[in-house]
Structures are given as C-alpha cells and as structure tokens.
Amino acid sequence: MRGVWAVALNSFRESSRNRIFYGLLATAILFILSSLLVANLTVPEARTRVLLNYGAFSISLFGVVIAIVMGVIQVHKEIDKKTVFSILTRPLSRGSFIVGKFVGMALILLVALLVLAAVWVAALLIDAALQRGVLTTVEIAPQLAIIPGVLLLIFVEQLVIASFAVFFSSFSSPILGGVFTVGFFFLGRSVSFLLQLAERGKGVMKSPLAKSLARAFSAIFPDLSSFNLSQELVQAVKVPALYLWHATAYGACYVVIFLIASIFLFNRREFA
C-alpha cells in the first residue's frame, strides 16, 4: 500500500505540472465560459437549459479527453523513457505500480473535475445574477441539487475510460492505445442505442447476426450512457441515490477488471 500511494502521489505531481494537462483544462474552462455567450443566442426560457447542458457536456468531454490522453501516456511513457527501470527495481510489485499510476490519474481527474465544476457553477450563478440583477440560486436550485450526482457519474465514467487506457498502454503504443480507447468510448456510449435497434429489428439490425453482435457488445462493453444524466439535469428530475450507487458499482467493476487485466499483462512484460 505504501508503494501504491508513493507512485500515485508522484504520478499526480508529475501530471499536475504537465503542460498538456493545463492546455486541456484551460480549453475546457474557456468552453464552459463560452456557454454564457451561446446562451444569449437562445430564447430566455432555454437559457438555463443551454447553460446546464453545455457545462455538463464540456466537463464530460474534456474529462474523457484528459482521461484518454493521460491514461495512454502514463504507463507507456514510463516504459519508453525507461523510468520503470529505476522504479521496478525497488521493493514494489508491478501490480502496485499499475494501481499507483491509476490512483494518481484518478487524483488528477478529480482535480480537473472539481475545477471545471466550480467554473460551471460559477457560470450558472453569474448568468442568474446578470438576468435578475441579484445573485440568487432560487430558480436553479432543483438543478443545483442534481449536480453532485451528475459529477459523480461523470467521474466514474472517466475512471472506466482511464482504466481502459492504462490497460492498453501497458502493452501497446500510445497511438494505438489512444485509437482503441476512443473507439471504446464511442462504442460504450452507443451500446444501449445498438441494443435498442437490435430489439426493434429495424434497418440493418434486422439480420440475426447484427442482433447477436449488438447483444455481444452490450455484454462485453460497459454501457457508458448509464453515466450520462444530462436529461435528468435539464428536466430537474431527481436521481435516486440507489441508481447512483448501482452505476458507481457498475463502473467500479469494469475498473477492477481492466486493472487486473493490465497487471496480468504488465507482470509478463520484460524490460530489455
């Protein structure tokens, strides 16, 4: 455990000084703040909806990008630059190293999420104040109450993607790992849609092969759309705590599976 925490802290420290991270974070902040301008183009009734949607989408999108970029780079860079030579020759198991890298990445993702969430909420409050001339949260109070749940599931989704990126970077190149992780994200996001199409049996999904494929995908890949609460947020529908727990546990299962697979492969690697 001592080793896991040391690797995690070191990984967090290194990532937090990486310019790529700051570049992505700054772009995400600009993106969220630009929602204030975009909201001006809509009808007044849709203002809050645009701000909520835009913010949640930005946090989710940039979080995923940070998870993919950092996840793919993290382990591969250690091997490529041969820093693993100095680390794995210490009393530290390879499993602890992989888990430590993942925890470090989770910390950096958490920091990014909290910063972006703060900017998002600030944008919502600023807009409310500008519209009504007074700083009040009364009108957006129902949505604000849902935001912690939305952020929790965005974070869980990022962890699932990050664990998949770590899995790939433990045995392949960053480009290949990046391509596969992006593919994994899109597939994960469309699993439930594919399944719905298969159940309805329309269009190309009529054939039994297509149906079987859709069912196989949904059985293997995580349904990332279950972490997406943007509809509930916009409509201010309260999300049951049980759902949040279930979704978190669902994501945690995939994280554990991907990390075990990463450790399995990393244990067999030779660093010649």
């Binding site: 420290r13 820093t83 010649a272």
Partner: protein, 364 residues
C-alpha cells in the same frame, strides 16, 4: 586521481592469495548457469521473398551461460563488448528480465521466486519477483531518466517512500545525498533542465537513497566529465570502505582497472574470465617491452612473427613481445646493428586482456 591510483595499487598488491582470502567469503550475488533467450516476432525478420532459405530468426540467445559469484565488500567489474550480454545479465539480476533458465540470488534469496509463505494475493501480485532482497540493493540503470517536471528533492523523496525510509530521516537523507553528488546548486531546478551528467548524478543519489548493502551500476561512468568520473570513482571506493558491495559494468576500462578488486569478461553471452587483475595479468606469458633506436626492413620482417605489436615512436621502434621471444628479438636487433634503448617487463593492461579475449572468441 593519484590517490585513487595509489589505492588501486595497494589493493592490487593485496589481491595476492592470503590465508584471509582462502577463507570462505559471503556470496552477495550468485548466478548459476543463467541463460536468456529472447523471442523475436517472426514478422520482424521474415522475408517473404526468401522464405525457403529460412534465413529468419525467431530467437536470440542474449546470455548463453553465466555463472559467477560476487562477494561481500568487493568492487566487481563486469566487462564485455557491446551486445555481449552485460545489460541483460544486470536486468535479470534486478528483476527487469526473467531468465530462461538458471538461478540468480541476492544475499542468498532467489530473485525470481516468490516464497511459498507469501499470501495468495501477494504471490499473484509479485508473481515473478521476490522483493525482500531488492530492499537491500541500489541500482543505477544505463542512461538514467526521471520525470521531467520533478525537482531532485521530489524524485528522491519518491524513492525514499518506496523504500519506506521513515519520514523523520527522509529529508536529512535527501539533503545528504544531494550534497554528496554535488547537486546542491540545482536543488530547485526541474529535471527536464538537467544535463546528462547531472541526471547521472541524481541517478546515483537515487541508487543510494536506501543506504543499500549492494550497489549495482550499469555503465555509471558514461556521460560524466573527467572530474565527475574521478568523483564517482572516489565515491565508489568510499562506499567500499563502508562495507558496501559494488557490482558495475563499464566500457571505460581504465576506471575499472583503477578501482576493481575482481573483474569478469563476458563475450557473446558467456563468461570468459573471472579473477583479480593480477590473476588475469599473469595468466598468459608475461609481456616485455623492447625499445630499439631506429629500424630496418629486415628487423621489422624478423620481428613480425615474434612480437605482439611493433610500433614506430619517433626515432624509436617499440616491440611488445612475450618473455620467451625476447632473446630472438634482441638477437635480430644486434644482427641489424640497432642500439637497444630499454628492455622493460610489462603487465598487460585490462584493455589488452579485453581485446585479446574478444579476438580469441572471434578466432574460435
């Protein structure tokens, strides 16, 4: 430098067999018939135009047979030409590469087995390595590289945490090491801005963070300037005086000659020679340097088959010959009426032994 040389001479003198040396010594590193074969993906070497000749390789024998022991308190030099298997052997020793067969142990503990007493979870997580011995070892890889955006104190703190150095002792130890490797002036600089030599120094500090009993250095002198090399040699010798065991590989034979108690030559994955410098130097016929004023074509013709090397140095001709051939070379000089300037017995340098070993292997 002169101090180091006098130390080396002193040790070399002490390397002659004594009753103390005859006594059994504690083995710190032991390689027993270690072999390593790397598999090459067939697509990397397969030529579809020439598939019938089966000229493609799927395996490379990096280490064919290595058996050696390193004893407590000695400085052991590991020599060999490029691609001889030095780094692979060191990586097997440090747990980065798994041997194909054979056994490696540090302080009597196998590097690649996990004790049966370990819990199933620990066995799975540590599947191929026993970590216990690694806590007593420090390793400096060839061309060490660390995280770009960290400072020297931060990277050393990281390694100290990995070794479980208590918090109370950590900062004192880090400061001590930073001063020891002469990086006090660069304490606040990030490692990205470090030169190759500075990275080598921080690598040495990282290697010593746990105050290891065994220090394994892979090409520690490469990348250092002459002053840095002298400082490192002095440091290695100081560590030896503190009872540490040092195992290191190097291409800089002069340095090995100055500080090593024993050396091993590895050529094409096989250990060719192991011994103290004096043992290796006296292994073949002793060499003699014959220096003659001037030269003639007949003299050169006469000495060609007798001397190991014949070289013109200004007005003089230098012949390096084995002791039994000295008389014939002198006779050839007398016959040509050449004046003898000097006849000096000469010990073979490590470089000459090294080149001779490599040539012997080539010839065989």
């Amino acid at each position: 430098m002169s101090e180091a040389k006098s130390d080396a001479v002193e040790r070399d003198g002490a390397a002659t067999p004594t009753a103390e040396q005859d006594a059994p010594r504690e083995s710190v590193i032991r390689f027993e018939s270690v072999k390593k074969t790397f598999r090459i993906p067939i697509l990397h070497t397969f030529n579809p135009k020439d598939w019938k000749s089966r000229g493609y390789r799927t395996k490379v024998e990096a280490v064919k047979e290595v058996s050696m022991e390193v004893y407590r308190g000695e400085i052991f030099g590991f020599l060999g030409p490029n691609g001889a298997g030095k780094s692979t052997s060191i990586k097997m020793l440090t747990g980065l590469v798994r041997p194909s067969s054979g056994r490696i142990s540090i302080f009597g503990q196998p590097v690649w087995d996990v004790p049966a007493s370990a819990s199933p979870l620990a066995r799975w997580f540590n599947r191929y390595r026993a970590g216990g011995a690694l806590d007593r070892m420090g390793y400096l890889p060839e061309h060490p590289y660390f995280y770009d955006f960290l400072r020297p104190t931060e990277i050393l703190e990281f390694f100290a945490r990995l070794h479980g150095v208590p918090k109370a002792r950590r900062s004192h130890r880090i400061e001590e090491l930073i001063e020891l490797v002469g990086l006090g002036h660069a304490r606040e600089r990030v490692l990205r801005k470090f030169s190759k030599g500075m990275l080598q120094r921080i690598g040495i500090a990282a290697c010593l963070i746990n105050d290891p009993e065994l220090i394994v250095l892979d090409e520690p002198l490469s990348g250092l300037d002459p002053i840095g090399r002298k400082e490192l040699r002095d440091l290695i010798y100081t560590l030896k005086k503190r009872g540490k065991t040092i195992f290191f590989s190097s291409h800089i034979l002069h340095d090995i000659e100055l500080i090593c108690d024993r050396v091993a030559f590895i050529v094409e994955g096989q250990i060719r020679e192991i011994g103290t410098l004096s043992q290796l130097q006296s292994r073949d016929n002793p060499l003699v340097e014959v220096l003659v004023h001037g030269s003639t074509a007949d003299f050169l013709e006469a000495t060609r088959g007798l001397a190991k090397s014949v070289e013109s140095i200004g007005q003089m001709t230098q012949c390096i010959v084995e002791e039994p051939a000295v008389e014939q070379v002198l006779r050839a000089a007398f016959d040509q009426k050449l004046r003898i300037a000097s006849v000096i017995p000469r010990k073979a340098t490590l470089e000459e032994i090294f080149v001779a070993e490599a040539k012997r292997k080539e010839a065989s």
